[in-house]
Amino acid sequence: MSESSKLTPATPLTPRKRALVIGASVGMGAALSRKLAKEGWSLALVARQKDKLNALCGEINADGERLALAYPHDVSKVKEVPALLQKIVSDLGGLDVVIFMAGVNYPPGGMDKYNFENDRQMVEVNLIGAMAWLTPIAEMFQNAKAGQIVGIGSVAGDRGRVANPGYNTSKAGLHTYLEALRNRLTRHGVNVLTVKPGFVKTEMLKAAAGATPFAIEPEKAADDIYNAMRRRKQTVYTPFFWAYIMQIIRHIPSFIFRRMSF
């Protein structure tokens, strides 16, 4: 193998899907990256935490063939995105799927607490960060008439609740943004998948306010996401039963919902 930063090109008999995972170093991102590597995908892994990112890359590439490349990056630094994206696509030898996983959650810590700085950061990472990455990628996929965009939203984006207005907003915005992309891109053969996880046992969960029922392991969430990707679904809840729970929650009338402590 040469000193090249690029992965070995695919051949007809060693075809490879190429994925870009943004927010790959921990939790669901790491679990999904491991899963994709196991399925033989080529991966570009982007995350802010350089040490964890390199460790994950090392772990994936330890079994012989180099499948993963690491790109330390903070998604709130939106100006870096176009050049970094170009480098990634060049190193991967193309791009088939992008998974936007990066997200932060800073609960205000009470129904009477407000913190604009935290809210702004959540919107900057969860929504603006996603838009900064997915805009040029949507443009590429539309022109290539192929590709898949996966955005990790949240059940928290389905309703504005008392506990965490900033987080709800960032995820609801992301859902709407992904829906708009879906409406634009489906006609060009591009699939846009919105994933809405319930509670997943990650670092983020430890910060969550209140009860966290039905929490699942990140590996289970990664399996669900991978299956939804393969089936080119549009929206998927993980685990699946959140679809029913959220169906109910979405239909609670406002005159009741605004009196609830949930």
């Binding site: 070995t8 007809p12 170009q86 991967l92 030898g93």
Partner: protein, 464 residues
Amino acid sequence: MFNTFKQFENFGHSLNAPGYHILARTTDDIQSAFALAKKHGLTVTARGAGRSYNDASLNGGGIVLELSAMNLIQSWNPTTGVVRAESGVTLEQLWQKVEPDGWWPPVVSGTMKTTMGGCLSANIHGKNNFKMGVFGEHVIEFTAILPTGAEVTCSPKVNADLFYAMISGYGMLGIFTSVTLQMKRLHSGLLSVDAFPVPNLSRHLSALQDGAPDHDYIVGWLDTFAGGGSLGRGQIHAARYLHEDEDPKPQETMKLKNQVLPPYIFGVFPKSILYQFMKPFANNLGWSLVNLAKYVASLRTHTFRQAHAAFHFLLDYVPNWELSYGYGGLIQYQSFLPKETAEAAWTEIIALSRKRGLPSYLGVTKRHRPDKFLLTHAVDGFSFAMDFKVTPSNQSKMREMLFEFDKIVVANGGRFYFAKNSETTAETALAFYGEETVAKFKKLKKRCDPNGLLESDLYRRIFG
């Protein structure tokens, strides 16, 4: 720049790689593509008609510079038969220009869709390789732009090292902008074709070898499904040009309307949808029946006259035939072997393919002679091309088998052709080229392209 992103495929539809698409209309566009690549830290690959079976014109995540719009025939002299054409001119344009005046391109591929740039890059051969050599042997001179920005003119006398390396160089040293070629004189629009069967590989190869001196073209079809005593059976088509007095109406037979391939089969059925009807046959059973039927039909020995275009461009006879192979597409495995070892090696290869249950659907043989281009594929011997259907379930088995083929071919002094084989590794290439050739090529690469701007997926696979 993101809005130029486009999906590119190879001819066999077996591999795709997206890249930034730039359509060059002038030589200035080529210069600016290099400048753009340098600015963005990207690489450039030239693409003509995209007719190679592998990754020669693919550049995943990089710039794909399409030259098909630079398609002007700049000059044509019907007295001397010398033509000068831009690199995006196709063989189709070329022969249609020169044939009515009584000339024919001395070397053509099995499809007329290939561009001059592609023909030079791969240094293509035809069914007359044993007699007329490769495409590059008929080049008087060419012009090209190197990644340094330098514009060069090369001929066998001027810049000879570049001449012999850029032709056969798969666009890895520079981008062709124009070529001056010598055409071959015709005395008729027809060829006289002898068709006869051969019962086994030994007779097949000796028919190619013995038939070659008396003919201008020779090609064999090999029934890849036959084993045992019939292994290597097939049919030979050997053709020769008509002499001056043989065709009573040369002006008539040379007319373009008597050359172009008909769009209908049996006069009524549109060929453009024929590939759809081939799909049900694109499996082991279907193609074994096709091969059997073809062998039975070939048992009749006969001689007939055929138009040049119909004889040469078999791959264009059914448009989009390659789509009949379905989702995974097809790959071609072509090996070139010296005449002394060919029979033993291919006996082993065909037997192995039968044993593994991975039969080739179509086998084609040719007679060859060596040439002095740097990355040459030809040998004093024969070539055997095998088409394989790729499916998700046969990929890894087939790859393993092709690596075994590679070992057999290299051990027998054989070579490969980079317009065809897609799985050849850097190690295998080093083994058949030899270290000296590879070192010489890499040295030239450094000289022509110090910043490493010209790269294709093929380049990365073989020289990366």
